[in-house]
Structure formats: C-alpha cells, structure tokens
Assembly symmetry: D2
Homo-oligomer: 403 residues x 4
C-alpha cells in the first residue's frame, strides 16, 4: 500500500528538518521537501538545502527560484500600495507566504500529494497566511502544521533530532528566529523579547551599523514608470535585481532598520526587528513621487485604503476578493506615477532631495510667488467664505452649546 504524499514548505532550518521525520513517523506521509528561493539564499545555499531535505528523510527534495515572481507579483503591488503595516513594517514575510503556498499547491497537484505542510507555530501570523491562502486556492487539500500540533520546545526538538541522527543545522551563534527574502529580513526571540532593551548589533546582517557607514553621502536616483521602479541611476534593471541593488547600496549606509511592537492577528503584541534597506528606500521614493503626481482627492483616499491593504496582507488575506478590489483601485492610480526621485543615502537615512515628472501636478506658474503667477487671488475670497460657511452657521446657531 502506498503512503500518501505531503509537500512540505522546507527552509532547511531546525523546525522543518525535524518535521520531515515527524510527519513521516507520526502521520505516515512520504515527504516532498520544497524549498523556495525568494531572495534569502546565498549562492550555492539552495543546493545544500535540497540535499539536507533528502538527508532528513524526504523522498524528494525540490528547489524553486521564485525571485522574479516574488518581485513582480508580490513586491510590485506592495510598492504600488505603499504597504506598511502599522505604518512601519513592509510586510516582508507576509508577502512571501502566499507565493510559497501557491507553489506548495502546484507541486502537490503535480506530484499527486494529498496534503501540504508548513513549519509555523500556533502563535504567529504565518500559520494564518499559509492556511488561509491554501483554503482559497485549494480548499480540498489537507494542511498539516506539525510544529503547532507537536508543540515541542526548541531544546526538545534538538534532542529528538539527535536521537534519530537527523542532520539539523543549529547555528550555535544565532539566538534569533530569522525570516528573510528579497524585500527584507526579520528577527525575533531571545533578548529581543524585552521591548525596552536596545537590540544588540549582532541581530542585523543587511544594514551596516551607523558607526561603520561611509562618511560621505551617496546619491541614488530611482526612475518609476507607472508606479514601478525601473531604473537606478539611469540603469534599467528588472525589479528583482533593482530591489537587490538598492538594498545593497542603502544597507551599506545603515538604512532600513525597524524596531517595533506589533499587533499580531492572533491577538498578542510582539517585538519585532526588521531590516529592509531596499524596501524602505523604494517606498520612501514611491510615496514622494505620488505626492507630486497624484490628484489630491485621489491621494487622500488612497492613503486611507493603504492602511487597510497592509492589514489584510498582514492578516493572510492575499488571495481574497477584497485584496483584488483594492489592487484595482491602486492600479487605476499608478499610471500617473511616472518620474524620477533623487535620494541621499547617508548615516541610516534615505532622504528625498528632489523629484520630477513630465506629468507631475506641481505647476510652478500656480505655485510661485514671483512674477509669472497665474493664480487668480481674487477667487480665494469667495472660496474662503463658502468653505467656512457651515462652520459659521454652526457657530451662530450652536456655538453656545457646551462650549
């Protein structure tokens, strides 16, 4: 009798390495380990991850390079929507989870698997993102959550793995729980759990400490076409390469460190450290260009929807009709967002120092106080009178109520 197959989202780390064996032993699955490269890996690393999957007992071990797909289909819309959860977090992991789920589901269909699996715990957001995505694109697939179900502590897992000679990759020197991709890097656990304690420098990898940054500012010009960054300093680049390049350059200047207390969907607050040099730089530029290019009523309503959008992506609702509807709103606004933004990278900051667009709505002849002023000042008087009329009537009739 053949055993049912399960495609597991495999990172090569402790939890999913142990989960391969546990799912085989306890749940009776043949495991297909699937590792997705969304920009987290060093050259050669994905090959080692694939081999480790086999060593841990997977019947098959696969690697997919999804960097371009991640950039174009997930990071791109997030840029358009200026997606920052709680105004701060660029949704690093939240963006990759639906992509990974899509690949798990596709691979499960291809390999005739009855289930997919993820290595998330029961208190994080990622379990929600994997499972709600799976419910949506493959409502009939079983989803296994071995780590949540098993409930092992880290030490117990290491002991369990040692008993079975599972070749787990415990880096002794990394006390943090890390997730990483093209769009950024996230760290939690350990000393970080005290929100009053300053994060130690060893938590960071992609951004230089300010003391180690160059003492000269570096200028960087981003060109956007219809909301998408397409050139760095005049050099056209595909989005994945562009994000990586900006990330590298901004990281060298210590840009993109985010230290925050975050509201999780499962009802708790957690302290999170993110490093997103590229994301912070690109989003800063994109928002600035929108200030130049978007009509003000549109801009205002878009800002209001952006918070909702970031929240729904954070909460795992990527493949939902609301997500598609907000994307449609945003897509209608982006054709106007074409132009260039000059940034200065220096000592932890990516500061915009200039922006221009051939279709920008800034009209110097209207804005200037110098000669050439085309603004009709006399219209202002009527405007002010009617703009203030509701307040004036209110003051006359109701101003005395509970002042």
């Amino acid at each position: 009798m053949t055993r049912p197959r399960l495609v597991l989202a495999y990172s090569g780390g402790l939890d999913t390495s142990v989960a391969i064996r546990w799912l085989a032993e306890e749940k009776g699955y043949d495991i297909i380990a699937l590792a997705i490269d969304v920009g987290q890996a060093q050259p050669g690393e994905m090959d080692r991850v694939r081999q480790r999957g086999l060593d841990c007992g997977a019947v098959e071990s696969l690697v997919v390079d999804a960097k371009e797909e991640f950039a174009n289909d997930y990071v791109g819309p997030a840029i358009a929507a200026n997606a920052l959860y709680m105004g701060k977090y660029p949704l690093v992991s939240a963006l990759s989870r639906p992509l990974i789920t899509r690949h798990l589901v596709e691979s499960a269909k291809e390999h005739g698997a009855a289930a997919i699996g993820h290595g998330c715990t029961g208190k994080g957001n990622d379990q929600v993102r994997f499972e709600v995505a799976a419910m949506t694109i493959a409502p009939d697939l079983t989803v296994e959550a071995p780590i949540r179900e098993w409930g092992l502590s880290r030490d117990a897992a290491i002991a369990w793995a040692a008993e079975r000679d599972i070749p787990i990759p415990v880096k002794k020197d990394s006390p943090y729980s890390i997730d990483e991709n093209l769009w950024g890097r996230t760290a939690e656990c350990g000393i970080l759990e005290d929100p009053w304690a300053q994060p130690p420098e060893d938590v960071y990898e992609r951004s230089a400490a300010l003391v180690d940054t160059p003492d000269e500012p570096e200028e960087l010009t981003l060109r956007f076409v219809e909301g998408v960054p397409v050139e760095v300093d005049g050099q056209p680049l595909p989005l994945a390469a562009l994000v990586a390049e900006v990330d590298r350059r901004a990281g060298r200047h210590g840009v993109g460190r985010i230290d925050m207390v975050e509201d999780r969907l499962v009802g708790i607050k957690s302290r999170e450290i993110y490093e997103c040099p590229g994301a912070v730089t690109i989003l800063t530029a994109h928002r600035d260009l929108e200030d130049l290019c978007l009509e003000q009523e549109l801009a205002q309503e878009k800002r209001a929807l952006e918070g909702r959008y970031a929240q729904l992506v954070y909460n795992g609702l990527w493949f939902t009709p609301l997500k598609r509807a907000i994307d449609a709103f945003v897509a209608e606004s982006q054709p106007f967002v074409t132009g260039e933004v000059r940034l200065q990278l220096f000592k932890g900051q990516a500061a915009v120092v200039g922006r221009r667009s051939t279709i920008g709505l800034y009209d110097e002849s209207l804005a200037t106080y110098d000669e050439g002023d085309a603004f009709d000042h006399t219209q202002a008087e009527g405007f002010v009178k009617l703009w203030g009329l509701p307040t004036k009537v209110w003051a006359q009739r109701q101003g005395h109520v509970r002042q």
Copy 2:
C-alpha cells in the same frame, strides 16, 4: 469723527509692516498691531517688533507671550492625535493660526475694534485658517486681508514703503518666506519652488547639516503621562520648555528636516521645506509608545482618524464640532499612553531603541517562544479555520469568476 479700529496680526516683516500704512490710508482704520510670540522670537526681538509697529504707523502696538498656551492647547492635542498632514508635515503654521485669531478677536473686543486683519496672500492656506477661525469665534467681526486685496508684488511693496519712509525690515540675504514657532519652522519660495532642486543649506536654521553633527550618538529618554510628554531624561518640564529642549537637542543632530510636495486646500501643489527637530522626535516617540499601549482595534481606528484630523487642522477647521469630536475620541485613548521611550539621536535620525510602560499591553508570557509561554497554541487551529471560512466559501462558490 473717530476712525474705526482694526487689530492686525503683526509679524514685524515686510508685508504686515506695509499693511499697517495701507489699511490706514486706503481703508481708513486706526491700526492696533498685535504680535504674538508662539516661540519664534529671540530674546528681545518682540520688543523691537513692537517698536517697529509704532514706527510703521500703528496707533497702538502690543505683544503677547503665548508660548505656554500654544504648547498646552494646540501642540498637546496635536501630539495626542499624531497629527502629520499627508503623513509628513507636523502642522507648524496650521496650529498657530487659530491661536493668533483667538488673540486678535479678544483684543478687538477689548479695544472696541470693528475689524481684524491678517497679512496672508490669496493662494496660501493661512488666509483660510485665519478667516474660518474668525467666522467661528466672532462671526460678526470684519476681516481685512490687505495683502490679498492689494495684490502687490514684493518689489512693488518695497518701493511703495520707500516712498513713505516706512522702516521695513528687508533682510537682503533671506530669499525665503519663513514662518516659525515652537513646533517648527517653514520655508518656501525662491529656489525651493523647483521640486527637483535640493534645498541649499542656507534654508535651514534649527537643524545642523549632517556634516556638522556630532559623531557620537546621544540618547534621550522621554516620559509620557496620559499621552503628554512630561520629562526629558528624568527631568520634569512644562510642555513648552520640553518641546524647546528636545528641539534643541535633536536639532544639533540634524533631526527633523522635511522636504515635501504638499496639497494645499486652495487646490494647488506647493513645495515646502520644514524643520521640526522637536516635533519629529516627540511624535516618533509618542507613536511608538502607542504601539505598546493601545489595544489593537482602538489603535487601528485611531490611525484612520489621525489622517482626517491632520487634514481638518491643515484646512483651517480648528474651532469646529468635528475637531472637538475627534479630540474626544483621542482623549479617550490617551489615559493608556503612559510610559517611557528611549531614542537615539544621531546623524539626522531620532530612532526609538526601547520603550516600556507599567500598563503596556505587551505580555512577555504570551509573546515568548521560550519557557514560560502562556499562549494556548491549540486555540489557533480553530481560529484560523473560522478566520479563513469566508474566503474558503468564496473560493468554492466564486473562485472561478474572473480569475
């Protein structure tokens, strides 16, 4: 026959100095010049401004120190509401205009004046702020806008003043139009009108150029009680003094420069340069402490209202019932915002590196991945299933529609 009196908001600058004479000659008023110190003045400067008012032809010239009032009644609520127009501008001038209007009205009543006046042009926001505020608190007073009505260019105004020996204060070296108070400093005009051009260093006064900032980071701890900052590094200070102290220290590190294209109520975009070392530092800390202290549904709705609040203050609707209603919402949230925030000032940044509160909602026993975890992981499964249920039903029934 006595001439009617008019109380003019007097800054000591070119426009209002000329306006004194113009209102007297053309409109037949006796002018009372009223200069309000909201934190813009150097020691002794207000005395010179008062004298200049008389020299320019005012029948009376008055000075009011409103720094404490400005801090407590205008800046305080703005901190509570994290008020940033377009997510960027701390509303420096927008906050002072209703205060100045209130003093104009009071002074007009005291001196039996028939009118008040301001020196705004017809294309800015300040005319709206003065006039709508006046309509609300004194719907029967006449408001004169000599600069808007007269429509003189700067050069013509200088010539007109010279003919009459009006002692105007033309600083040859200041090509910008400046407004300043405790909460920040704003500059526009001249070279700044090209949004692609980087602002020259001479536009800044309150923040050091990054090249001139200290090479060592400086730590600063702010203590908030019920949303109001009350201590700097353990030292209790009244709000006005506290803002000034934080402004000075953050400014030394180059914090608080804002370069933006802004949507004015009168329908145009303008390029603005703000310097707000204190405001940026305090707002950064306040928002961070809220992340620790506000329940998540409250926090989310408050963020949505904050944009609306900043917009209405920007648009001159300070003395309106909507402003009061949002203030009431915000006031209900602030009793929870008590605690301390550690910031690191360095090279243009005020970065939060720690926060704590005895009533913070971060619960380490729920958040930790270590021993002592009090979170019941098994509840998560049911939660995820029901959280995803609407999406799942949608996928089953409608997923095929327009995929």
Copy 3:
C-alpha cells in the same frame, strides 16, 4: 465537599433548561439560574421562568428586571450612534448580551460562583458576545458553553430531557429560534433558512401584517433632547417606556420588519428575520433630526464611524476601549441633536414628514430662492474655480493618460 457554583443565563427555553441538568451531571456544578428581563417577557412570565429553573434542577433561580438599564445604558448609545449592522439590523440581541454578561458576573461574585454559563451554540454570534464580554469584565471567571460543548441536536435534547423528566417548554407550534427584547425580536431556523422563500406570516408577532393594518395614517411626533427621545406626542416618558410605546404604535402599522442575509463574525452568512417597529421608527427619526442639526463635516465623519460601531457591537466588543472612544466621539455630537420629528405611520412605513429644532442649522434666509435671500451668489464663482482647480490641473497634465 461542596460543589462549585455556576450562574447560568437562563431563558426558560429548551436549551438552557436542559443545560441546567447537564452542567450539574456532567460538570458537577450547583446551578444558579439567572433570568434577565430586558423587555421580552409578558406580565407574570418571569415568575414562571423562575419556577421552571428550579423545576429543572437549579439550586437557586433568580429574576432581574433590567428594562430600564437596558434602555438607558445600551439602547440609548445605540440610538446616538444610529447603530444598524450592515445598514439594516438594529442589533437587538447584540445589545442585550453584554448587559446579561454583566449581571452574570455580578451575580457570580455575590454568590461566590466559580463559573458562568450561556446556552449558545458554536456557530452563532452570541457565544462571542458572552465570552468576550466576560473576558473583559471578569477575566478570571470560567465560562461554560454546555450547548456548544455537548453538541446535541434539538430532537436528541428533547429525548434526553424526557428520560429525566425535565419539564421542558416545547411549544409545538414554534418552529423558529427566537430572541426578543425591548429593542426588537429576532427569528431564524426552519423554513427561514431558504433565503429565496418569503417568510410565512406566523414568524411575526410584534408587527401587523400589512393587510391587517389600519387604513388611516397615524401621526407620531418624537421629541429628542441631546440625542435621546424623551417625548411622544408631547408626553414625556422614560426611555424604556417610550421605546415600548413607539414599538406598540408602529407595530400596529406593520412597521419594522427586516428580512436580510447577514454576515456573522464566525464566517458564515445566515438569513435573519427581525421585527423592530420601535427601533426602526426611532432611528429613522433620529437620523433625520441629525441631518437638520449636525454640521456637515461632523455628520459625514459620524456616518463613517457608525458602520464601524455597529460592527464592533455585533462582534461582541461592547466593553472595549474602541467602543468607549467612539462613544466619546458620538457623545460630543449629540448635544446638538435637540428638536422634534413628525412621522407618519402607515402601511409598514414610518416616514418623516417634518422636523424642527431651535438650534437647527437649516437657515431659511440662506436656503431660500425667494426674497430675503442672504446668500452671496458672487462668492460662488471663486469657490467653484478653486474647488475644481485640482481636477483642472489633473486634466491638463494627466487627462491623456489611460483615458
């Protein structure tokens, strides 16, 4: 050894009657049955409910008349907030659940009980409302949900009760699941589960069928003071009595039937039939008076918050800081809502035919097109020009993009 005590929210119906015995047998509690009158009971009925609690095995059986409390502390704020879930449902049950929970908790403290209990199933909203309310006001009390835990079907429950001679109140002729209070009546189940089928007439009790309504319209005038209805046709009444009186009169005319498909928090859609003659009439009048009395920016923002408010009350978040913050916003608006509304009750409708207020913001001298017009038409031109300016600039610069 004494058994722990549990205070059960007791309705006298099948489920909670059976639950008394089940909790005693299976969970080892001594049950205190607590029945709350929030306006659902006929005279004498609460006495019978109390007796039935004892007959079913409760060690104590209590009845509380909470009609006034319900009206003042729950219905009043809902009127102020025009609370209608999905724009339709006046939150009948959602408003009573926090009140009932408050009494359960108080009674548990008074009687030294270790737990409280409710008779809700696992797929409705009421379980959430009871339990989240309890978590908030008594986070340390255990909450039992016998019906959800036991999972018995209706028929099985009847059989189980028969075996034990539990005197259950099965009305043979009521195939619906009913909840009722001062603010309305709700029905679900049975034939109603087909959303295409018109509800049979026997589902209704508080509103006359249109064929049976009077053939003459009836006028009803409601007077509000600060947002609260205080008089019917000139007759002052306490709120509970006023709601009952309006309910009776409007119900006679068939007003207040609501037939809707509703989104439950637990992720499913359900078909619900509500009868709320009083609620619909009072809310219609209150909204109309607000149109007369609220300044337009305030009115617009209040409307936006009302949807959020109804949703949070529906979702069981009554005792939360967000609820209190929105209440504070709303409370700031209600002092202006004083005046009278004339309604015509006729054939299922409560139509407003007139409204007036001594502090209304309608100003005939501004609105009139006749003589006496005080509106300055010439101001309109400047207003229109600046109002349209952003759109005009957009059209000139970007109108060609993706038309």
Copy 4:
C-alpha cells in the same frame, strides 16, 4: 464681424429661455440651444422645447436623446456603487450634469463655439457640477453662468421677458423648482422651504399618494447579471427601459418618496423632496443581492467607499481620477452580483421577500441548525478565545484606568 457662439444647456424653462436673450444682448453671443433628453420628457415635448429655443432667439436649437447613454454610463455605475448621498438621495440631478456637460462640450467643438453656458444659480450644487466637469473635459472653454451673474429674481425675470416678448413657459400652478430624469424627480422652493411642513400632495408626480395605491401587493422580480439589472419578471430589457418600467410599477404603489434636509457643497442645508420609485426599488434589490453574494470583508469596505463615492458625485467630481479609482474597486466586486431578487410593492414600500443566486455565498449546510450541519462547532472555542484576547489583555492591564 462674426459674433462668438455659445452652446447653452437649454431646458425650455423660464431661466434658460430668458438667458438666451440676455447672453445675446449683454454678452454678444450667438446662442445654440441644446436640450438633452435624459428621460424627463413626455412624447413630443422635446420638439416643443426645440421650437421654443428658436422663438427665444437662439440661432440654432438642438435636441439630443441621451436616455440610453444616461442609463448605461451614469445610472449603471451608480447602481453598482449603491450611490445614495447621505444614505438617502439617489443623485438624480448629480448624475445628469456630467452627461449634459459632455454634450455641451462636444457640441461646442462641432459648432466652433467659444463658450458653453448653464442656467444655474450661485447657491446650488449644479453650477459646481457643470463647471468642474467642463474644467476637466475642456479646460480651455469659457463657461457662462448668466443666471448667477445676472442675479435676477423670478418676478423680475418674468417682467424682463415680457418687455421683450420672450415666450416664456410660466406654468402658473407650479410653485416648485423641478428637475427630472430617468432616475427620478426633484422638487424644491416655495412651501417646501419650511422643513417642518409636510409637503403638499401636488409636489409629487411620479408616485401615487398612499391613499390612491392598489390594495393588493404586487410582486416584482429583478434579475441582475454582474451587478446590472437585466430582467423584470423574466423579461429582458435594456437598462433605460428597465428603469422606466420599474419606475412606473413602483410609482403606482407610492414607492420612492424622499423628504430630507441635505448638505450642499456650497455650505448650506436645504430641504429637498425627491421621487425615485425606480431608483429606490432597484437600489434596494441590488444591495440585498450584494448581501447574498459579496464576501464579508469586501462588502464591508465597499460600504465604506460607497458613502465617499456618493459624496464625490454629489460634489461634481464625476470626471476625476478618484471617481475612476473607486469605479475600478466597485467593478471588481460586481462580477459576483448575479442572481434574482423578489420584491413586494405595496403601499409605499418595495420590500425584498426573497433572493437567490447560483453563486451566492449563503451555504445552507453551514448555516442550518438542522441535520446536515457542516459547521465544526469545536473550532468556535479557539476562535472566540483568540478573538477576545486583545480585549482580555487590555482588561487585565488597563481595565482599571478611567473606568
């Protein structure tokens, strides 16, 4: 020398009839009268209007039948967006103004006209709608507003016309100012200006008085495909014909009378009487079908945007990028809105009594309390616990603050 031409939006009424001559005499234009039929006209009436234009002095007089265009391009999107200003007014006139402006502009181009003109006063919304629409689609055309500029009272206009033998159409018995089209009819002025006075029956034309309505209810079934109503009682109809048919049938039952105090963009409140039997019936059905067919998060956000949408259409911002962006959001939601709605028309009401859809999200197997229940009740416990967790932590940590 040839006189410049002006295309005037011509209704055949007093104001625009007089304006033809005034624009010719005072402004020196040759007038082209353009009358647009958006459903307001009786058969033959448009011919008489055209003739009257010539009689009043127009050099050319044109009539356009725009009923289908109005239905498809203006009413259709308004249905999709459930557009009701202040939750009540279906935007009758607001929808026709941009269409009329589009035709004025097109006609001006075709006839080489230098200007267009409208007959609005300075205190209404229509001047804004005409002029902002014109600024957007033809920023270089001059717009004349003769009635606003001239400022004549009604009596003076009649006298002026009489002096010149202008054949004005003063219906002695119509004391109201009327605007009408396919989507409804609006009345203001005269006795209606007292918001306490019940409107006299003579103000209504398209809806029967309740005393005159049939004593039997009438059932009407509407079928929608992707949000557009396409069939009445199984009979396919183009949208314009469908709206007219539903209007006629619902009007016979007295459906669609709206009596409200309205907030105008120009800052005043006005009392308005609308008659919209078709609009009210169709919107009621459309909203009901959405409750069945839209996923709940999408539905909730759409409801929030609908208020904004109605407001911007009311405020004349039809041809703006924000309008297009919200349309894109709405368009993404409508493919799911396919199905049928049964309504009962009776005594002033259009009540939904059933709805169905092959892709509806109501799932009887999830919703039922009977056998066949597919809902897993045990998941609810975990859901409730995590749903309430933020509130519980808040209660424990902050519940004591300002209770």
